[in-house]
Amino acid sequence: MVFLLLSVSMKSYSNNWNSPYTSQQVNKQTLFSSFSSPPKHLDPVVSYNSNEWAFLSQVYEPPLQYHYLKRPYQVEPLTLTKMPEVKYFNQSGEAVLKNSSDIKFSEYLFELKDNIKFQNHPAFVKNASQYLYHDLTPQKLASIHNVNDFAQQATRNLEAADYVYAIKRMALRQNHSPILDSMQSYIVGLKPFSKKVTKAFSQQLKASGTKSKETYFDLNKYSISGVQVIDKTHFKIKIRGIYPQFLYWLTMNFFAPIPWEADKFYKQPGLVEKNITLDTSPVGTGPYYLAENNPNRIMRLLANPNFHDEFYPTSGLTKDSDTALLKDAGKRLPFIKEVVYSLEKESVPLWNKFLQGYYDASGVSSDSFDQAVSVSGSGSMNLTKAMQVKGIKFLSQVEPTIYYFGFNMTDPVVGGYSAKQQKLRQAISIAVNFEEYISIFMNGRGIAAQGPIPPGIYGYESGKKGMNSFLYNWNENHASRKSIEYAKKLLAEAGYPNGRKANGEVLSLYYDTAATGPDSQSQLNWYRKQFAKLGINLIIRATDYNRFQDKIRQAKGQMFSWGWNADYPDPENFMFLLYGGNATINTNGGGVNSANYDNPKFNKLFEQMKTMQNGPERLAIIKKMVHLVQKDAPWAWGFHPKSLALYHSWYKNVWPNALANNTIKYKRIDVEQRYAKQQKWNSPIIWPIILVIIFVLLSIWPLKKAYQKRQQIMLKNKKSHDLKLKGEVS
């Protein structure tokens, strides 16, 4: 059976038996990648998820982007001719200087390149002055299954109005943009505009009795006072006060241009019924367009034939990195013509397919780590022999992320700002040994955090300078965690000698977690062990993610683990996790400061630091702030994970960039090499099949023999039976 089926599928392929792709795909500039969970939203104003951005960023182009190679991260124009010009104004609207003390507004002026075109799309198709597909009937839609099925497609130039339209869409509540509320406090006029259009739209919905998804609302009729189109290639955005981080927001897909034609097109009920919406079928100016969207299996990008001129960077490489990265310098982007993302929920198949050469790159899960990476005598990571033989390469970098173990500062036991309570938290922070955590659960892929700011972000300091002196001692050339005896001493000073309360009872603390996944059991046990070192009894309250979030939002938890990914490379993005104004109890559960840390001194410094330009002055304030939180220890700090990417030798121009998502356009594939290696690594092992066939053939003969024997016995029985019958008769 197997054999038969295999031979059938062999006919249609000159490919390996176990190749998940067609041979045409393998022999082209096609990148094979994976995604771990189906993207829910591909609407750029809604999506706020790195999984979704992996697709979106190839398709949409916000005004700015991160330079691919430069470190520290630097923002550069993408669809603009130059970086936006900033002007400052006072309350009465007069222009003032940059360092003036009464800046009330800043205005950004954008100038677009004039040769940028959208991808080909039915929404743009015009018949004389009429849009051909803006009034579709069910008959016309009968043979349409996705947006690329339309017979006619057209394009048009990118205009300043498209960027403004995107901001207007963001303001519409019915679109559920996650950043609307934070943007309202920056962009002038966004809030009243949002109120007005939301109300108008809901009235329109009520009047027509339809759903927001299938009803077009003409945003062009309204305008935001702070966001204005000047002409086809110029627009300006006015924001409150000074907010230098605003430029970072402009690299995100929320600010990608949306043509109003597409918005209108996608709101047709017949399309919505077929899941063809702006949320599933993006329309962008980027290097690729989404050719196939089957979030349950495959996402396929194809090179956008209308893509504007963009070239591989010619400089910006740090000194000690591989110069091969500049081999393609100045060449036109993109190199890869097709990207195939397959859904892989499980780490096991993902890893195995990578080893078989069917994925061009892969992360390394902690369980395949030993197989892939060994740590050399000097402490640097290297690939194992087996990987080197395959020609696999790897890149690693500490991500701008922190996973922390938080204390609820409003909790009567672990919270509070008295010296005793500080000591309790410090003692726990010493006992919970994150170096061990990293080595057990992360295979050493991470560094223990010394404070809230991860490496790569301004304000981070390495070595002795950055060490948290409350928890660590400097030991010649590295920081080492203070001893457990010291922690016990702190604990005793905090009023819990040997982990006991004044009345002799064992101190019991509660750890809340959304325990899911196979690894959770061992991790929870590990946490218990850490607290047991101090004689404290840790009680784990595991629950599902919703309950867990609820609890943290209501500040009902005692201790918890949480993480934060940088939105942009600025210390403000981490410090605000500890700013009192963002505490969940002060914001009715909306804030990001889950530890509810609220120290007036820290708050004041934060407000000061927030809008400053990077420089020695800012650094000094950051240092003060870090010292404050290190002492108060609202977090047991946790760790910064290290990303580790493996890729095959045929995959070129790979460079880790934690903040940019639109990096596929820079990469290239050596197709011949890939094909040869795939063939070499995947020749099927046939002897078991032969063995099975031989076994089956061999067993036929004895079975036949046995059957004949039985038949004979039966005949004999029958004969004797017949004889007996005859005897009886006669």
């Binding site: 599928s9 559920h176 996650p178 759903k211 299996r297 038949q711």
Partner: protein, 325 residues
Amino acid sequence: MFAYIVRRLLFAVPILIGVNLITFALFFMVNTPDDMARAQLGAKQTTPEMIQSWKVDHGYDKPLFINTTEHSHGLLTDTLFMQESLKLFSFDFGQSDSGRQISADIYERMWPSLAIALPTFIIGLVTNIAIALLIVLFRGSTLDSITMGLAVAIMSISGLFYIIAGQVLFSKTWHWVPISGYAEGLEGIKFLILPVLIGVFSGIGAGIRWYRSIFLEEINKDYVRTARAKGLSEIKVLFGHVLQNGLLPILTGVVVVIPTLFMGSLIMESFFGIPGLGSYTIDAIQSQDFGIVKAMVFLGSVLYIVGLILTDISYTYFDPRVKLS
């Protein structure tokens, strides 16, 4: 016959209402609409305004069972339960919480589910019957007892082991088939071989035990003895009489599962990355997407009831003594 089917279908209505009541009650005990909104909005910071607008958009702003703000008929009809249930009965599954059209998704995902479930079912049926016939042929011999012992052993192993072992052996070590994935049409065959094989194998234990007992029951009947007495060979007896008559109880027994094949296999699909309805359901449970869960529960119940009706019909069809009334 027709009247009978109509009546059975009418009986299904209160059952389906009951099913909906249970789903709604269970689900909203866990999740408030606020929870769902937060999970779906997925932002780092969610504000009350965002949550409210999401709820209005998805119809979760209405009360669950009783609407106290409405009078007379609105008391019960202008509620979440009533609105959503009515839609379900017209097979309008609406939107998932993440905003996709559920009907379109179900239609799309039904095929991969069938692509696994149908071959597994048919090949399983054929293999099981073939093996059962073979050991009935050698009944009472060592081969019989060894096979029956193996059958119990196969039954006693968790299906998860077969999957893990199958992937390691066939895909990782021997490079026969892709480890996971799916493709449409002929290209898809190589992805289906392993899950179908494992599905057939894990069902073989229980299968051959059942079919063997059916055949053994049949083989002791008088007409078989007569046939044998007429001098027919054992193989002819088996295929000519036993198999033919044994097929009836087998078919009426398996008819009930045929409609539920649509629902797919939860475990198999998620292990092998097959985008069917089984993995759809599991994803919905894990992300607590109520829209999908209620649609799938409803669909499952409908298919179950259809299965029951089909069983009844197949009884009358095959056995003229049974009359539907």
